[in-house]
């Protein structure tokens, strides 16, 4: 078993955002505590759409590392984010699953939620290139 939390901890951007990882029911769950620097809309207030995108993409990467046992960060090819609700000033969580794993490309989906897992704030799908062992 690889230590996903340690790998993410070694990624400067994830550490700067404040993302931490835990394993729950065989999947990686990411937690991101609220911080004033993450705000995109001060009136609501709401998290920046880029924070949402960052957390979802990181969830997919973390799940891929966990399931493939890889240590190198897979490269994002394309991603799509659906913003379902405004993300408030709360701790945010995300979880991903692999839809299909090919030899070189992985298709993954992810969801993000805040206080209620049944009310997702955003959903995500993306393709990732598995890092070749150069």
């Amino acid at each position: 078993m690889i230590d996903v939390a340690a790998i993410l901890g070694s990624v400067p951007y994830c550490a700067w955002l404040g993302v931490s990882a835990r394993i729950e029911d065989g999947a990686v769950v990411l937690d991101l505590p609220f911080d004033a620097k993450l705000v995109g809309n001060p009136i609501l207030p709401a998290l920046h759409g880029g924070v949402t995108g960052s957390l979802l993409e990181t969830a997919a990467i973390a799940q891929i590392l966990w399931e493939t046992g890889g240590k190198t960060i897979p490269r994002s090819v394309d991603i799509t984010i659906d913003y379902l609700r405004s993300a408030g000033p709360l701790t945010t969580h995300a979880r991903a699953h692999i839809v299909r794993q090919g030899r070189r490309v992985i298709s993954a989906r992810a969801e993000m939620w805040q206080d209620d897992p049944a009310r997702p704030v955003a959903s995500f799908r993306g393709h990732f290139l598995l890092a070749s062992s150069e």
């Binding site: 700067w16 809309n41 920046h48 759409g49 924070v51 993409e57 394309d78 799509t80 984010i81």
Partner: protein, 147 residues
């Protein structure tokens, strides 16, 4: 450009243009007017998503592209409106190189009654050296409709 639009552009510049998150990333609004926007992001260690290569995290580009699309739409609106990203698709063409500024340019494609569309791309050094492209749909919340 109408006076109202000048007012709105100034409000955008002070308000949603300069978001806390863009500031925290270190991004700088170079310009945005008449449906086009431009952001510069100096390279910084806290942006790195792949420690081996020094490339910035994909989410950094997503943030810049999302913001630039919103700015392009905001600068094209004739009357103030709130805005929320409905969806954003980002294609990553190339990993970024360390120590070089990232530039994002955006363009408003269409403003409808309820929804607006924009696209943006990110590059380093020259527009030919494209890192990522995005297309987004944005919900408009027109203020006068609520009055």
């Amino acid at each position: 450009m109408s006076e109202q639009n000048d007012f709105w552009r100034e409000a955008m510049r002070q308000g949603m243009g300069q978001t806390a998150f863009l500031r925290a990333l270190g991004g700088e609004l170079l310009e945005f007017a008449k449906g086009r926007g431009r952001i510069r992001l100096p390279y910084a260690p806290h942006l790195v998503g792949d420690p081996r290569s020094g490339a910035v995290h994909g989410g950094v580009l997503t943030a810049l592209l999302d913001q630039a699309c919103g700015m392009a739409i905001g600068s094209a609106l004739r009357a103030p409106a709130g805005m929320a990203t409905l969806d954003l698709r980002v294609d990553h063409m190339k990993a970024s190189a360390p120590d070089i500024d990232i530039i994002v340019e955006s363009e408003c494609i269409k403003i409808g009654r309820e929804v607006a569309f924009a696209r943006a791309h990110a590059f380093q050094s020259s527009p030919d050296n494209r890192l990522a492209m995005a297309t987004g749909a944005f919900m408009l919340m027109r203020l006068e409709a609520r009055a």
